[in-house]
């Protein structure tokens, strides 16, 4: 067959293109400035591969794939390490660290954390607490029915009676709007439940804590002015505990 025939049939532009490509290839292969592996081998015959590749690439292992039937090596691939000095996995659970950082930011003195920690002088369910809210006018007092410990989202549930109607309110203890939390009265005996939901029943309902708050305020005032130096133990405890530190904020 005539080799030139299909070429001749094509427009001239095709020939031009092929010439251009050939010229470029020639240029590409003849350039001496380009780094060549062959020349590298010539200069350092001992080194097996490119000197740059071994230094740049991390040390690699080989993943062998074995033929199941014949138990012979079928193929193998280079596998680079998943963790290198520049590429490390993050901590598997970031939530505790995140909580800690936020708590540190919202509660630098640690008073709020201490007030609801699981320690002897911390507040517990069954205690009567008073929360001063930054926005709302009057502080809200009530018996603490439950403490929901969830890091930065830790909250308490207070129950009181306002005008013979039972009222319950949740407070996030690390919220900036909660200006202070104080222990008005401690429960005499430790509650044997984590959540005192039974206190909603008429039989166990504590009713209004108004008189308790009044008494506590009176005692505190006496203590503050220094008139009654030997104030009641209860008042002293409430004042000196971590609750007072919480109030400072």
């Amino acid at each position: 067959m005539n080799v030139a025939a299909p070429l001749a049939r094509r427009p001239l532009g095709c020939l031009k293109t092929s010439f251009r490509q050939a010229r470029q290839q020639q240029k590409m292969f003849s350039s001496t400035s380009r780094r060549r592996m062959a020349t590298a081998v010539e200069t350092t015959p001992s080194s097996s591969s490119t000197p740059s590749s071994s230094s740049i690439l991390p040390p690699l292992k080989f993943q062998k794939i074995v033929d199941r039937r014949t138990r012979t090596l079928r193929t193998a691939f280079a596998v680079y390490p998943s963790t290198t000095p520049g590429l490390a996995p993050p901590p598997p659970n970031p939530m505790p660290a995140l909580d800690e950082a936020q708590i540190k930011r919202m509660d630098p003195t640690g008073a709020r954390t201490a007030l609801f920690a699981k320690t002897r002088d911390a507040a517990r369910v069954g205690d009567v607490l008073m929360v001063t809210h930054r926005r709302g006018g009057e502080p809200f007092a009530g018996v603490c029915l439950s403490i929901r410990r969830q890091g930065i989202d830790t909250a308490i549930l207070l129950r009181n009676h306002l005008g013979k109607v039972g009222v319950e309110m949740w407070f996030k203890i690390y919220n900036k709007n909660v200006a202070g939390i104080e222990i008005v009265k401690r429960r005499k005996k430790r509650a044997r439940r984590a959540r005192l939901t039974y206190m909603r029943k008429p039989k166990h309902d504590m009713g209004s804590v108004e008189d308790l708050v009044f008494a506590w305020k009176k005692a505190r005032k006496v203590y503050a002015t220094g008139k009654g130096g030997a104030a009641k133990a209860g008042g002293k405890k409430a004042k000196g505990g971590p609750a007072a530190a919480a109030k400072k904020k």
Binding site: I56, Q63, V79, Y80, R105, I152
Partner: protein, 370 residues
């Protein structure tokens, strides 16, 4: 000489009655010279194109096809690639003014770029990104070869993020960290929702169900009628909402503000909820419906990438060279030599690898020029 007499009256009569109008109509042709049947052009009749279907042919740009589709979608395609992350759970973000904002913690685990998809080679612009690490024994041979060529460890999952144009492409093998975004930025978060299994019409589509009493018998939560009867075809129309598998479908939550970023913990905290359980894999990308991040920030992130991974290109090139060497060895069944380590490429093999790399470089240069 005598001038021949003309039949004046007859002549004029002929002209005025039929001759003149006929002449006029003949000059304005009633049949179009170019039929629509043979195509049309906005160029003048005397224009002779030297090529067909060229940009100079005078045809308007087509409104359909890949180029038109890309142009149409350009506005709704983010300018930058996004990242993959794992949903770690929800918590609260306490503001300084007393606001409590529910938020979701998303963690980035060794998010690396693997591939740039280009208009020329793939038909669109995109960046392929991988997350985490996977045991290489759980990877198929073709994918092992892919990772080998990229110089990257096998990833848990790969995903691609479409970008508007070549300016959104990234160096290969670099790690994207949470500071890829900034606090206050709006992002779109995509993930698969929790699978609910086979659910009825009431749960799946919010149907009302039937009444509890008034003679109702065993039909409290059924979907009821599936359509009209004879006269309307006696058939169920396609797309009829029915019981079936619910959930485990992709959900995009748009325009979530970023509340926190932390490179050490590798977390991005976004406001609000994100679909899926803890451990779900999510895609985070710049919000489509908000203005893109400021150019200074984009430049800054790219510069940071360059500073963190100055030899990304060289590394990719080295990995590619190594891959070609190994590929040749696999083809020639010289694996044992490589594994034992006493293998050296002959001059010919080295030359072949070198040529392949040079071709790659030339192609890249051409692309850059284009």
């Amino acid at each position: 000489m005598s001038i021949p007499r003309l039949p004046v009256v007859r002549c004029w009569r002929q002209l005025s009655s039929s001759g003149l109008p006929k002449l006029a109509t003949r000059s304005l042709s009633t049949t179009p010279s170019l039929s629509v049947k043979y195509g049309w052009s906005t160029q003048s009749k005397h224009f002779r194109p030297t090529r067909f279907n060229q940009v100079t042919a005078g045809l308007p740009a087509p409104t359909t096809g890949p180029a038109a589709a890309l142009k149409r979608k350009a506005q709704s395609t983010p300018i930058r690639a996004g990242v993959l992350a794992i949903k770690k759970g929800m918590t609260a973000f306490m503001g300084r003014t007393g606001a409590r904002i529910p938020c979701t913690v998303l963690q980035l685990d060794r998010v690396q770029t693997l591939l740039n998809k280009t208009r020329k080679d793939h038909g669109y612009w995109a960046v392929q990104v991988g997350l985490g690490a996977r045991d290489p024994s759980n990877i198929t041979a073709p994918m092992l070869g892919y990772y080998e060529a990229k110089g990257v460890a096998p990833k848990e999952i790969l995903a691609e993020f479409r970008v508007r144009d070549e300016k959104g492409l990234l160096p290969i093998g670099v790690e994207l960290k949470p500071d890829w975004f900034y606090i206050g930025q709006r992002v779109d978060v995509r993930s698969n929702s929790r699978g609910q299994g086979f659910a009825g019409g009431m749960k799946r589509h919010g149907f009302a169900g039937q009444e509890a009493s008034h003679g109702n018998s065993k039909n409290h939560r059924t979907i009821g009628s599936a359509g009209p009867s004879q006269g309307s075809g006696s058939r169920v129309l396609p797309g009829k909402k029915m019981p079936g598998r619910m959930g485990n479908e992709r959900v995009t939550v748009q325009n979530l503000p970023i509340l926190m970023i932390d490179n050490d913990l590798g977390i991005v905290v976004v406001k609000g909820a994100v679909a899926g359980p803890k451990g779900a894999i999510v895609k985070i990308q710049d919000a489509v419906k908000k203005p893109p991040p400021p150019q200074e920030f984009v430049d800054k992130t790219l510069k940071t990438l360059e500073e963190r991974f100055p030899d990304a290109d060289a590394r990719l090139q080295a990995a590619r060279g190594k891959h070609l060497e190994l590929k040749a060895a696999r083809r020639e069944k010289r694996l044992n030599e490589i594994l034992t380590g006493n293998w050296e490429p002959t001059e010919e093999q080295a030359k072949m690898v070198e040529q392949a790399l040079a071709m790659d470089e030339a192609n890249e240069e051409q692309q850059v020029r284009a």
